[in-house]
Subunit: 347 residues, 2 copies
């Protein structure tokens, strides 16, 4: 008889409409490939050579102020710039391009070089949330902006070039691919059911209790049924809101709490500062629609699979054909769920 804990199967990602391949029996294969090095984890609170520390010089020659809480500035190497001239081409519908404008920012989570989200105080995380809100509001005032992507690359394995706790915001004049897919899927569901896709999904997950990692009054962190990365998770707000701007002060606190709880569990998984790319998905802006279908959530995509040094490679088959995972989402959730909420460095 078919058993999803044993047998290969595909699962539907209801947010994107894509399928993923799960091969649970494959966890048995030995790993003889590349192992990563674990970066040192004992940083000073202030590093004179860090271009993100307060009072230090940045690559463009300017000086960081002596900031004391979360701090934001325009990325010195922005991938998107506000002043891009209009243009593009369309040669027989085969060579098609168009210019893209935008704004890229960097946001330091703390002046303290040694910290990361899981070891920050909840109050300090609330200040990061305030700054995210402020930036979302400010950036959406630019009429050419259609989408605001708030994210963090954590760990050098995720291409993060500076361990100072920080994230990024890329605001663009067109709706990026993943958001186009998520908008379509959520709209389809909302039109049919008069309820947000993620509200319905969350109800079902809370009933099943098979993939929940941690829950509080306002948020749930879970391993989505269709997770691709081994320990991928998602934070979903219990209230159906479109963007971070709608969070009440209680929700801000609860969001800070669950961010700390989830990332602490991540660090406790292999007793290292756990790498991931994480970021919020929220409604597009300035497109004349109210986006009632949109339900705020945050994704975490961590690359590690078996240990601090063995990652999951998304390569040949995954790039050319279909995303694939070995460990089941249920097994990953069970592992994360039973981990301590006290950070390993504080024990």
């Amino acid at each position: 008889m078919f058993d999803s804990k044993e047998h290969s199967h595909t699962r539907l990602n209801i947010l994107t409409g894509d399928w993923i391949l799960v091969s649970p029996h494959r966890m048995k294969r030995p790993w003889q490939g590349k192992v990563e090095t674990v970066p040192a984890d004992n940083r000073p609170s202030y590093d004179p050579t860090c271009y993100l520390c307060p009072g230090n010089k940045r690559s463009d020659g300017s000086m960081n102020p002596a900031y004391t809480d979360a701090y934001v500035f325009v990325n010195d190497f922005s991938a998107l710039l506000p002043e891009t001239p209009d243009g593009g081409e369309s040669d027989q519908g085969l060579l098609v391009s168009k210019s893209e404008t935008g704004i890229c920012k960097v946001i330091c989570f703390s002046p303290d070089h040694s910290l990361t989200l899981p070891v920050m105080q909840e109050d300090a995380i609330v200040k990061v949330i305030h700054l995210w809100k402020q930036e979302f509001e400010e950036l959406s005032k630019h009429k050419h902006i259609r989408y605001i992507q708030i994210f963090e690359n954590k760990g050098e394995i995720m291409g993060c070039s500076n361990p100072h706790p920080h994230g990024q915001i890329w605001a663009s004049s067109s709706l990026p691919l993943e958001l186009t897919k998520e908008t379509t899927q959520q709209k389809k569901y909302y039109t049919q059911h008069g309820k947000s896709l993620l509200s319905a999904y969350l109800d079902l997950e809370l009933e099943k209790q098979e993939r929940i990692v941690v829950e509080n009054e306002h948020f749930v962190a879970l391993v989505p049924y269709w997770a691709v990365w081994p320990y991928e998770t998602m934070i979903i707000s219990k209230r159906h809101v479109q963007t971070i701007l709608q969070f009440t002060p209680e929700e801000e606190k609860a969001f800070a709490a669950i961010l700390k709880q989830l990332t602490t569990r991540y660090d406790n998984l292999f007793n290292i500062s756990f790498p991931y790319s994480g970021g919020m998905h929220q409604a597009p802006v300035n497109d004349g629609e109210d986006h009632a279908e949109w339900h705020w959530h945050m994704h975490f995509y961590p690359p590690l699979l078996r240990s601090a040094t063995v990652k999951k490679f998304m390569v040949g088959y995954e790039m050319l054909a279909n995303p694939q995972r070995d460990i089941t989402p249920e097994a990953a959730a069970a592992t994360l769920q039973q981990l301590s909420e006290i950070h390993y460095s504080l024990r």
Copy 2:
């Protein structure tokens, strides 16, 4: 005025319908992040500890024969198995899965442990092509198989756990994501124009001569207009054929030649054995359609960006929002095109 060599823009991938973000000015940013190690490149022709060398023991305990040309066997850790029981679930359309069967094979390109495609003789590559054909034919006789993905992960940075020259074949009972997208796009074009999408695209590229890397009588290797990876390329057959089975003996020779020429240029880019994931896309099988729209091609996705040790990280923004590249496809093609066709190790 808008200049695609300077200004951020998005480009349409006509094969998938997705857009990619190009930020050419961003190549100027300094790299302070992770650098990779370059694996040693002086392997013996025979390694007694290699489970792929002729006459050696494999992980399942069986013995490799004393093979003398390309050699194929069933993967000891197959992600897809032929005997998977039928099953799955669909809970309110929110938790949706179905079982997946298939067959996974490993194909050694040569008995010689020290070789790679660029340093193999053309005749020996033709034998690999014969084996690919034979496997494609054999696997498509299994009526439950819908798609046959032939690919190679080269280099430990691409998750390849053994440097012995080899590739893989994963045959699955459903059509993988990338192939679903490519089928839709090609069908749309073929229905409208009575000509394959890639024939039209190839004509335009040959006219423009801006992205061609190498060309022979039967094949063209180019950097696609919508390339995501820095030095991504694609080999397209000049003749509109659906699968590798239709290659004539002359086409087989020309395919071997262009494979060798392209991968030699790759190795000469940074004077290392250049890592990539590469694989063929061809028509689905056993679905009752003739797939006249399908045009055989092969993709190469190499991770390196600036040097042998600095890769392009597809992380936060790319995972959450949209694929992004810095160097333009035109600049990448110009660089690859002017490289020597004599392998650096033979000079």
